[in-house]
Amino acid sequence: MANFKLKVNGKTQEVAVDPTTPMLWVLRDHLKLVGTKYGCGIAQCGACTVHLDDNAVRSCQLPVSAVGDKEITTIEGLSENGDHPVQKAWIEEDVYQCGYCQAGQIMNASAFLKKNPNPSDSEIESAMNGNICRCGTYTRIKKAIKTAANTENA
């Protein structure tokens, strides 16, 4: 057990956990931020994607001890009122089916668009390839990313 001070969604939070605990479980079990999802635990599905500073990372692979003073943003903190352009585009395209993968998809897409505001189709595909959607909403996700890119650039 060790104490960690974490910056999550703009707030500083303290947790006492085993240093090997992945951020995914710190968020879900200890901070009760359950928007970040567990799908595989081995970096294969992307359901657990959060932002570490501006980078999309898989929180199931990020031990709490490795976070340091970097800023963590989860789906709950992506925008104040759910109005991030990517969130709005997701609603616009009515992307989801079961919805379980979508927090991870949105977190990955928003970090990606920040770095590449005007992506091509194949850039979208390779950036998003690590995020599984078991319900098969891929064509809508692609469309929503383009919609978000267009509104951000408008």
């Binding site: 879900r28 931020l33 928007g35 081995i42 089916q97 919805g99 909403t137 891929y138």
Partner: protein, 732 residues
Amino acid sequence: MTKIRTQYNRRSFLKVSAAASGGMLIGFSWLNGCKPNTPEPEPGIALPNEWFDINGYIKIGDTGLVTIYSPNPEIGQNVKTSMPMIVAEELDVPWENVVVEQAPLNTGFYQNQFAGGSLSIRLSWNALRMAGATGKRMLMEAAAKEWGLQLADISASEGVIKENNGERTVTYGEIASKAVGIEVPEEVDLKSPKDFKLIGTSIKNVDGEKIVTGQPLFGLDFQREGMSLAMIQHPPSFGMTVKDFNEEEIKKMPGVKDAFIIDTTINEPDWFDEKGFKQLIAIVGDSTWELMQAKKAIKANWESTGELESSSMHKERLEKALVSGTVTESRKDGNPEAAFKRAAKVIEQTYTAPFMAHNTLEPMNFFANVTEDSAELMGPTQTPEALEGSVAKLLDLPLENITVDMSRMGGGFGRRLYVHFGLEAAAISKKIGGPVKLIYSREDDMSQGTYRPTYRSTYKAGLDENNNLIAFSVRGAGLPDGPVFPNRFPAGAVENYLAEKISADTNITTGAWRAPRSNFTAGAEQAFLDEVAELAGKDPIDFRLELFERAKNNPVGEEYEYDAERYAGVLKLVKEKANWGSNEPNVFRGVAAYFCHSTYVAEVFDMVMEKGQPKVKKVWCAVDCGIVINRDGAINMMQGGVVDGIGHAMYSQLTFENGTPKQMNFDRYQLIRHSQAPDDIEVFFVENEIDPTGLGEPGLPPAMGALANAMYKATGQRYYNQPFATERQVIG
């Protein structure tokens, strides 16, 4: 206009009372009340007793706001949006005034639900319309009474009632409290489909905002003050059970509160109790991570209780079953044997498919709080009533003392029809005497599934000198259940026909997986027919249309299970939309059509070679599901089905060695990913006024056939064994 009764044998489907906060509350039977006695009920189920149970609620508040409490489990089929649309249509209120809410917990709202077999819409259609129409009628009667007019003198639309020959108007909200005193009419009029304003339009998912902001919606997100967490460890192989384990050592591990063996054996288990392991090791603690570490430290003695099966053994069993297995279901028309003998050309091919896991992205989990005399459960289940019954047996409690509530589900695909994980949560809660949430790791989820059976079918066709199909046979075996539907197409369309379904044994647990049996048979049959059409020198669509003509005009043998006209209809529509017959360079086309779960679907795939790999670029999909409720939601379901079909036919399989699944997580179990999905899937509906049928399943089966046929065009090679990606001699 059609009429619908609000009563049956003097029992009412509907009750009305004053709403607590003002206005009118209509309670009605949402008819999801088909008892879950089979995962894929046959059409034409008798009216179940549960018809009369009130489980849906409409509140018309005095502000005019209409709240529809949806009791339906949401597994991603979007029923939580589409079903309230049906109520709002008949009630005649603008969608802006409608709020859809999950019915509150623990009130008995959640009785008799069942989300499986694409049944939800089919069973609820009339009940939802009846409830909406009754509400409208009662509001109108109240207004007529108020104004001293006859019903015929007034009309209602968009939440407002007005006098036909006068100025007076009243909103639903204003008259709602008065409508409470009106007697429930015995019979009400339903709208004619041509007057629908809401049905057939596109309404966005009512939970959209919650999903994109990460609200706690799913079973895995459920929290309760004082709740522990638990994980289980099952034996490594099917055919094994647990004897004992290093209990004391595990109990001493950090964060572990308790560790023990649970037994979830119950008397007279039903189909939904299917499970591989009844005795399991359970570990209880406060944090998932610590439980995961403790799980790794388990040293157990496992005992064999049966054979430890391997995939090679499964293959042999299926081969043997096809030769000498017992036929459990069959159909024979004419004299197939003689016809094959006199045929000018005969073709025979064998198709196979592996076991598959459901792999809902949210792993199995359940919350339970068991006390001396009661049990409260909450989680992602498609069959709450079934779980309630099983928990009653396990804990020896009366049904009334058990509640089962449903969370949103992170995918279903049939997996959550089975109740064992809820039962396990109950057993753990009983042992520790407090609330607990059981969580499966991905590995637990994948390695103790209720898998899609593995299949093997041999198809044979005979053509005469004029290339007419004169004989057709299919012999299909599965572990444990064969994949053949003897009365489906091309039954009725071929003079000499034989279909035989064969079962064989396995101790691997299996169950309903999105579009049971069709999920293999459609692909096999449609790929075979493509080959037969080629042998006959005919266009694959024309070839099928000829057969439907035959089935329609001059059917062979006893009744068959499809409507040849509607089947042909989707093929004609997809042919037109895809501009079939146009040849684009380097674009390879495949077509398939299938009928299951009362819905007809035809698909055309355009494939290209990208970096030496075949890739589906574009899909055209034509659907006849009767009346379309929520257009964009329906399109979404079909698109998902197509992607799912491509993914599983191409990449996914579960194989076994000595009873152990060789794939336990997404590193080895391949699921389709972004770059492998089509760029575009266009969906077209046959517009008609037939009662709506489900869309959860029918999009998937034909995709497997269209994929195989497009791959043949792209690579020159026919694909017989799923997953195709492992069978690529030519590609890769």
